[in-house]
Amino acid sequence: MSHDNNNDEVEDKLYGLLAEYESPGALIEAARAVRKAGYTKFDCYSPFPVHGIDPAMGIKPTILPVITFTAGCIGLIAAFFMQTWMNNWTYPWNIAGKPLISLPMQIPIMFELTVLLAAFGTFFGMWGLNKLPQMWHPLFSSDRFLTASSRGFFLAIEAEDPKFDEDATAALLEEAGATEMETIRYKTSKAIRAIPGGIKVFMIISACLALVPFAYIAKKRASKSDKPHMHIIPNMDFQTKNKPQTASDIFDDGRASRLPVSGTVARGELKEDDHLYRGKMNGQWATKFPESIVLNAETMSRGENRFAIYCSPCHGLTGDGTGMINQRADKIGAAATGWVAPSNITQDTFAKQPHGQLFNTITHGARTMPGYSAQIKEKDRWAIVFYLRALQRSAHSTVDDVPPGAQPPR
């Protein structure tokens, strides 16, 4: 062997002996004889599986079924956990109150994935155990061997077998009824075993082309654009229709949205009753509650509830203007930047105001207080006024106001 890095260095190596037999029966007999003579590294080749050759050659049953079984079990378990995880853990999906983890609904997919993985295990396991794909093999250098896939029956003994001896082995094969005999030699040259040039070029080009989409995505991710996103499939994102707040050529006023005809009133929005809706009687602030507001404990507790939600954050739960927003404003010194403290609405000024005026303040706001007409319905606004009267009354109460039986000891 030379010491320069010449890849075309060729060395002839002996692979073994190849013998052809005339029939499946003759092949079985030859295999039996070769095995009896103590050879281990030999194999038979036939265009179809010859039945009866396994015991003659001493082939042990394959472990393939174990691979199949294992893969099938993996499929079964994976299917269970996949469905449980997807429908019950990461995104619990309540269908008609059925139990989240139930087996019957999972059976079809568990079965399918068991079969799928078992089939993968069998298919790939079989090729793996057979050490295929293997594109190059010394036997392919024999032209005679090429009939092994259509009509020939062959037996090959490898030179690596400890009992191999070119003459003695040949004699054995001859004696077993070989019709033809051939010594298989092969070249160790890398050039012979190399992938053909055309395929190499094809692989390199396709590998480069495969990188193009990734390179494109990487470039797009790293760069900025003021254009809208690319829509390969528009999914009805762009439609020839008018949207609110957009311009339109169709109408004179250039708006896409149409205004209602003047004087249009929505259903239930007429609000004729001045007293109920605006707190006024004959143009003056109402001093009485509207007739539809029933003054009872239920309205009182409704008012208390609404007051707690909408009023107390600023005015405080007792109405004295010390709500938590005000406390916070004091804490951060907001008065310096124009914070107007909420009023103590239990003061006399407010206690003397007519019901209608208080109602109007809730509706439209006062000073920096916004109007609450959008959040609180009229009936609830009246309920708040009702509750506020109670707050004002209790703020100015004395011990004498407490019922006689419940007074604390003096």
Partner: protein, 455 residues
């Protein structure tokens, strides 16, 4: 003749037989000239495939409104076609797997072509639910793929089961088919003189050498794959039938559906195999491999499964009456005597009456009559799915939404076009792949035991 001479004769016959099979089957693939009939047939098939392409273009640009599908009949033709094609596919697996497990050696002549038919039919079947969604570019939503929406398939739905069943079926069918092709690709590789073909067949055959140790594992793998494919094929059409049976619609919500659908699938599939193989064996001069016996055996399967289907129709009607369920009763009366009665009686004639002719040996041995009857069975089985889907949906619980369903031109062109896809693929298969499993035919013949001494 002495026993020595007898032995010699036996061996010589076997060698001649192996060579003959190889030459016949490989000859089709290796022929330099395309047969004229093949070119004509391929041109026709590709034209029809073009119809599919046009229909799909129209569908993707215009939306599902181009079909006759409507509020009531949301499923209509696309799902009819899906079930029709899946059913066709099942015969291939039945021939390759179930008959293999039953040691029916006659299957070896037809299993390769039948498996190819399965794969192409499943491809046509898979097309329809995907395009029926209206937005096929979002078809990957059917699969449990993690996405930023955090949404997963709803595994209580039979439609989700269907996705798994049909895709598993397609995958396993392709693996099984390819596994069977590998030794035959090796044969083609070893026979070719062309360097390009040698490379292509070399890669496809994975370097297969036909070693006895490899054959041992191969045969075991083949047996296991057959044992896996057998329950699989039954599960697939059962799950397809769940799409209907789990729905609470009169005419669909019945427990008989899984076995009834499986029998129907085998019935239609065998009819399709015969429709394809009767002309193919004649045109490729393979009558000595796919013999009259094979054809006759298949007509017997059609007779048996056709009778099962007829029995299922009768049971459905009986249960509609016996259950005392007024809605179920109405649906069946409506099927037989309502506005779609013409479809129902077409189905009954093609699926129940037609196969009964196969009781007669004279019919079973006349390929022309068989071919005609098989075409009728194919028509009948399409109508079966039409009757189930459309008659049930067009008259549901609310009489206000009753409606006479009519398809559009695009319904018809899409369905016709799927035949173009199927036949294009099948014709390419016939010409460029070994259409008969050579190693299986050789291994199953009595010549495979030539020269074996009986100790």
């Amino acid at each position: 003749m002495t026993s020595e001479e007898k032995h010699k004769q036996e061996v010589a016959d076997a060698r001649e037989y192996f060579k003959g099979i190889t030459d016949t089957v490989c000859g089709v693939v290796e022929a330099k000239e395309h047969p004229t009939w093949w070119l004509i047939a391929l041109a026709a098939a590709i034209s029809v495939l073009g119809l599919l392409v046009i229909s799909l273009y129209m569908l993707f640009t215009q939306g599902v409104g181009i079909w006759g599908n409507n509020n009531g009949e949301a499923w209509a033709w696309p799902i009819v076609n899906f079930v029709f094609w899946v059913g066709i596919g099942h015969a291939g697996t039945l021939i390759s797997a179930v008959l293999f497990l039953m040691r029916q050696k006659w299957r070896t002549s037809i299993n390769r072509a039948a498996e190819a038919m399965t794969i192409f039919a499943v491809m046509c079947a898979g097309l329809f639910p995907v395009i029926h969604t209206g937005r096929p570019w979002l078809a990957y939503w059917l699969m449990p793929i993690p996405g930023d929406m955090g949404l997963w398939p709803q595994f209580r739905s039979p439609l989700a089961w269907d996705v798994f069943a049909v895709s598993t079926y397609a995958t396993v069918s392709i693996l099984f088919w390819y596994m069977g092709l590998v030794p035959d690709f090796a044969t083609l590789r070893d026979r070719t003189k062309s360097k390009v073909k040698h490379t292509i067949y070399g890669m496809l055959s994975l370097g297969w050498r036909g070693s006895a140790r490899a054959w041992h594992r191969y045969e075991r793998a083949y047996l296991i794959m057959a044992a896996l494919a057998t329950p699989l094929v039954f599960s697939v059409h059962s799950i397809v039938s769940f799409d209907f049976a789990v729905g609470q619609l009169p005419g669909w919500h019945t427990t008989i559906f899984p076995p009834y659908f499986v029998a129907g699938a085998v019935f239609s599939g065998f009819a399709m195999v015969l429709t394809l193989m009767i002309p193919a064996r004649k045109l490729f001069k393979m009558e000595h491999i796919i013999t009259d016996l094979h054809v006759e055996n298949m007509t017997k399967v059609i007779l048996a499964t056709g009778s099962m289907v007829g029995f299922a129709y009768a049971i459905e009607f009986f249960i509609a009456w016996y259950s005392g369920n007024a809605y179920e009763g109405f649906t069946f009366k409506n099927r037989a005597f309502g506005p779609f009665a013409w479809a129902y009686w077409t189905m009954i004639f093609c699926n129940v009456v037609v196969p009964q002719f196969f009781w007669f040996k004279k019919v079973r041995t006349n390929v022309f009559i068989i071919f005609g009857l098989c075409l009728l069975v194919n028509v009948g089985m399409w109508f079966e799915r039409f009757v189930i889907i459309v008659t049930s949906l067009s008259r549901t619980f609310m009489p206000g939404s009753w409606h006479y369903y009519s398809p559009t031109l695009f319904d018809a062109t899409t369905f016709l076009g799927s035949f173009g896809l199927f036949f294009t693929l099948f014709l390419l298969f016939l010409r460029f792949m070994p259409m008969i499993a050579m190693f299986e035919v050789k291994g199953a013949s009595h010549h495979a035991h030539a020269g074996v001494k009986h100790h």
